[in-house]
């Protein structure tokens, strides 16, 4: 019947565009991952243009697997994503429950809270690593400096001075360092995405059945039991949504990682690809294929989890 076929045809442009968008670059990446292809090479100028005669088989994959950064990057990718998910969901639920009931200025607090979500990721990273977290010039440095100044003052006090002189000077933390740069990234992304979680949970809380809660009160359930047995299960689906959307965005984190430490001690897969791509396109492409595989594993897992709720 013609008036059924036409509507279905309407989705083909979108499908075709996405298919092309996925397959062509992916095809090229796949091709590059099997050849020797570098941007600069004095000894092998023939490797600087892509050609089948530079076939390397699985050589690029072996090279990537043997590089010490690869496993670290995978671990780090998962570490960062999982930490952010954990923090945003916990904080999101707590804050949503806090601001769900009406209080003076609720609307303004909502607006204040959502703001970080609209900030450009690059600005977010620049803002945090420089003006807030910098150990000398940022607010952290200034705050630690201030505390140390106060301590210095106390040491000169007549009686208690001896006690305070036992205290060490506080050291500001450098968040560009190997051990801490991942923390900085987690911090800034959590700041940006907690508001998203809060608002989604809040929307959901507002649809919570109030009669059910009243019935629970009559049944003798306290505030905690109500939260545990009514509110949390009610938030199950929105939590799944928050986890899925965030996973999609955070698996490809890049700007934050680059700006915080240029990948020092804190590479994720996209960043590692970027590093390889400075010269060794073959290796970068092989890493890219690994990243696609990882993303697909996560995708299957996540879509299974949320897929059902979306079609209802």
């Amino acid at each position: 019947m013609s008036d059924r076929k036409l509507p279905r045809l309407l989705q083909t442009p979108a499908v075709l565009l996405l298919l092309v968008w996925m397959l062509i670059p992916l095809g090229i990446t796949l091709y590059f991952s099997f050849i020797r292809y570098v941007l600069n090479s004095l000894r092998h100028p023939e490797w600087t243009s892509p050609s089948l005669s530079n076939w390397r088989g699985f050589g690029n994959y072996q090279f990537v697997l043997n590089s010490k950064d690869f496993l670290l990057a995978i671990q780090n990718s998962l570490f960062i994503v999982c930490s952010i998910l954990f923090l945003t969901v916990i904080l999101g639920v707590l804050i949503a429950v806090l601001i769900n009931k009406s209080f003076p200025g609720q609307g303004i607090v909502r607006v204040l809270l959502i703001s970080p979500f609209f900030v450009m990721p690059a600005v977010n990273a620049v803002l945090w690593i420089n003006m807030i977290l910098d150990p000398v010039l940022g607010l952290q440095g200034i705050a630690v400096g201030g505390i140390n100044d106060i301590l210095d003052g106390m040491r000169t006090m007549p009686v208690l001075g001896g006690f305070f002189s036992l205290w060490p000077e506080f050291e500001p933390i450098s968040f560009r360092a190997t051990q801490t740069s991942a923390i900085a990234v987690i911090m800034m992304v959590t700041w940006q995405w907690t508001p998203f979680a809060v608002l989604i949970f809040m929307t959901s809380l507002q649809s919570e059945d109030q009669q059910q809660k009243e019935a629970a009160t009559l049944d003798g359930a306290g505030t905690w039991s109500q939260f545990r047995f009514l509110t949390l299960p009610h938030l199950g689906r929105p939590i799944a949504i928050v986890v899925m959307i965030q996973a999609i965005f955070h698996l490809s984190l890049y700007a934050e990682i680059e700006i915080v430490s240029r990948g020092n001690g804190n590479k994720n897969l996209p960043y590692l690809i970027g590093e390889f791509a400075n010269n060794n396109i073959g290796a970068a492409s092989a890493t890219g294929i690994f990243a696609v595989i990882l993303a697909n594993i996560v995708a299957i897992f996540l879509l299974r989890m949320v897929g059902k709720t979306l079609m209802e």
Binding site: M1, S2, D3, R4
Partner: protein, 334 residues
């Protein structure tokens, strides 16, 4: 104009066949009601006639022409939906005039027809409101108005009254019946409410699991139900149906007796039982009788009031000529 013929129509969703081959003819000007329990396929059948649902096989003929492949709007039918399906962003005037605008009719003629429809449905004062500002009954009228203006060869109603409260429902039922008397257009009406079916229909089609159990006038169905299902479905309170030795006495596998066809006595009768609940409606009394040894409960209906109370012993006597007899397959024995 408006003779609709279903010729070996079937419908399957995936592997499951919801409507096995079905033949039915709806005569021009007839008010036909499809009735049956929920999930019996009556709405699917209506939507297939409307063209909103594809046929898996078979043909639909409207006024002798094969309409199986004709898109819904070209079939000359108008439909009133259960949810009214008004366009919430349009005023009542725009809603009613919408199908005419789609036919590219001139604005003057649209206005004229909308005014006429609004007048006949008492909607003149509401023409510039949006559906959200109307009551349920008014929305229902707008939906009917949108169907009337097209001057269709047949109206299709999909449980149009089920979202209204009881009082409004009775009123709208009368209005639709009157509309049919006035217009004499074919109407097909789907409902699960057998009272609606009995009061409105020229002809009732009783459906169960996609199969037509019986087609007939309301009184035919009442007096001569072709099988146990129709016997139990038509009539309120429901017919008492039971099998066993008492049925065998009448030479049947199953017998049925309507509540209103049973006489009651406090001293003597064919069957003895104990009064359970007695419902006093004023005009009638429904007595639910237990411990008869025939069925869990026998319901009887007595005109006027009778003073019985819970636990009283009571005697029932069926009116012999009103006993319905059915064979082992559940089919009527004459």
């Amino acid at each position: 104009m408006g003779r609709i013929v279903l010729d070996k129509v079937t419908k399957s969703f995936g592997e499951t066949q919801v409507i096995p081959p079905l033949d039915l003819t709806i005569e021009n000007g007839e008010f036909t009601v499809f009735v049956g329990p929920s999930g019996c396929g009556k709405s699917t059948l209506l939507r297939m006639i409307a063209g909103l649902e594809d046929l898996t096989s078979g043909n639909i003929l409207i006024d002798g022409e094969d309409a199986t492949e004709v898109p819904p709007s070209k079939r000359g039918l108008a439909m009133v939906f259960q949810s009214y399906a008004l366009y919430p962003h349009m005023t009542v005037r725009k809603n009613i005039g919408f199908p005419l605008r789609m036919e590219k009719m001139s604005q003057a003629e649209i206005d004229e027809r909308v005014e006429a429809a609004a007048k006949s449905l008492n909607l003149v004062d509401y023409l510039d409101r949006k559906p959200g500002q109307l009551s349920g009954g008014q929305r229902q009228r707008v939906a009917i108005g949108r169907a009337i203006v097209r001057d269709p060869s047949a109206f299709l109603f999909d449980e149009p009254l089920s979202n209204l409260d009881a009082a409004l429902r009775v009123g709208m039922r009368l209005e639709i019946s009157e509309m049919h008397e006035r217009m004499q257009t074919t109407m097909i009406y789907v409902t699960h409410d057998q009272v609606e079916a009995m009061t409105m229909a020229d002809r009732i089609v009783v459906l169960q699991a996609g199969v037509i159990e019986q087609v007939g006038t309301p009184l035919e169905l009442y007096h001569k139900p072709q099988n146990v299902f129709v016997a139990g479905f038509i009539g309120s309170p429901k017919m008492n149906i039971f099998s066993g030795p008492e049925a065998e006495k009448h030479g049947a596998a199953t017998i049925g007796i309507r509540p209103e066809h049973t006489d009651v006595s406090m001293s003597e009768g064919t069957w003895k039982g104990t009064v359970g609940v007695a419902e006093h409606l004023g005009s009638d009394t429904f007595i639910h009788v237990h411990n008869t040894g025939l069925a869990d409960m026998i319901t009887v209906r007595i005109s006027g009031d009778i003073s019985v109370k819970h636990g009283d012993t009571i005697y029932l006597t069926p009116q012999a000529e009103q006993i319905h007899k059915f064979d082992a397959q559940g089919l009527r024995i004459e």
